[in-house]
Structures are given as C-alpha cells and as structure tokens.
C-alpha cells in the first residue's frame, strides 16, 4: 500500500514541478519567476525525501537539508538583487 501512495505522491510533486516550469517560462514578471523557482526547490526537496523513503535510506536527508538552505539563500539573493541592485552592501 505504501508503494502505491508513494507513486501517487511522486506523480503529484512531479506534476507540480511541471507547473512551476510553465510559470517560469511564461513569466510575466521577474517576481513570478523567482516565486516559481522557490516553489520548484520546495517540490524538489519533497521528491528527494520521497526517493529516500522509496530506497529505504536516510542518506538523502543531508541532501534535502542542503537543498533547502541553498534554495532559501538563492531566493533571498535574487530578490535583493532586484530590489537593491546589489546583494551584499
């Protein structure tokens, strides 16, 4: 039963990634693209966690933790760049 639920969750988050990709290509504003990238990172973390359950190892948690941190920092960096034209003042 878990494997079926796992497949369902994989499909959901994968479809979510596609939606984000669509928003990145269509735009129309930079902030939309940043938002879509941020959401993409979150979906990606979910996929990593699900993959860890599928394979039955806890190795992927370090990876998802790192992806979460990098994703947050890059979102903030993008926004700051657009807001101030500069990341570190």
């Amino acid at each position: 039963m878990i494997s079926i639920a796992l497949m369902f969750a994989f499909a959901c988050f994968g479809l979510g990634l596609l939606f984000c990709l669509w928003r990145i290509t269509v735009g129309p504003d930079v902030s939309d693209r940043i938002l879509a990238l941020d959401t993409m990172v979150i979906n990606l973390i979910a996929l990593l966690v699900l993959y860890g359950i599928w394979k039955g190892t806890a190795v992927y948690f370090e990876a998802s933790m790192l992806v979460a941190m990098v994703g947050f920092v890059s979102t903030v960096a993008y926004c700051r760049f657009v807001l101030r034209g500069d990341i570190i003042e």
């Binding site: 878990i2 959901c12 979510g16 928003r23 902030s31 941190m69 947050f72």
Partner: protein, 124 residues
C-alpha cells in the same frame, strides 16, 4: 509493519502529494502575482511537511529509531517560507505597483519600499 502504521504513512503521503500539487497548481491558475504568492507559501509548505512526517513514521517503524532530521527540515521550511514570500512581495511591489494604489499606512511614515526610515531621515 503493523497495518495501522501502513495506513497512517500512506495517508500522510497522499495528503502531502495533494497539498503540494494544489500549491503548484495555484501558480498556474491564479491571475496576478500577489494572488499566486498564496499557493506556494502555504499549501506546498504543508505538503512537504506531510511528506516529512510520513518519512519520519516510515523510518521509525522500519528501523525502530526515532529520527529528528525531518523535524529540522520542516522547521527550517516553516521559518523561511514567510521570509521568502515577504521578499518576493516587495520585489513585485517595487517594480509594478505605484504607491497610490496601496492603502495608506495610517501612520506618520509611509511604506518602507517608498519611504526612508526615521533613522535615515534624521541623518539628512
């Protein structure tokens, strides 16, 4: 693995998948950027929270050891999602919205994107 655990894990996985999908679907369906901000900040974050709880339960029932890793990731995401959303909102506002379209701040100073803070004003 006991049946109840299996049902619980599957339920959390499906719930997580549905919330994650709804959050991303909001990105496609809603019409302006501020509306779109609502989907990913809430639904997707809760979706991934559900997936992480499922993973915690799974490793608890197979390995027997309690793992806190997932809690850390969940906590991190719940703390950072509002900050990222706030930054994106500001980015959108400064590029697309004129100050006359926003309601007044009802205080002496205006909104921070348009107005200088009191400390900056004193310097001048």
């Amino acid at each position: 693995m006991p049946a109840i655990m299996e049902i619980l894990i599957s339920a959390f996985l499906i719930l997580g998948g549905v919330f994650g999908l709804v959050g991303s679907f909001g990105l496609v369906k809603l019409r302006d950027t501020m509306q779109r901000l609502h989907g990913p900040t809430k639904a997707t974050t809760l979706g991934i929270g559900c997936a992480l709880i499922a993973s915690m339960l799974y490793f608890f029932s197979t390995g027997g050891a309690v793992s806190f890793h997932e809690l850390l990731i969940t906590l991190f995401l719940f703390l950072t999602a509002p900050i990222a959303a706030n930054f994106i909102a500001k980015t959108y506002i400064i590029r697309n919205i004129d100050r006359s379209e926003l309601p007044a701040s009802s205080r002496e100073y205006g909104w921070s994107v348009y107005d200088d803070s009191p400390a900056l004003r004193r310097e001048e």
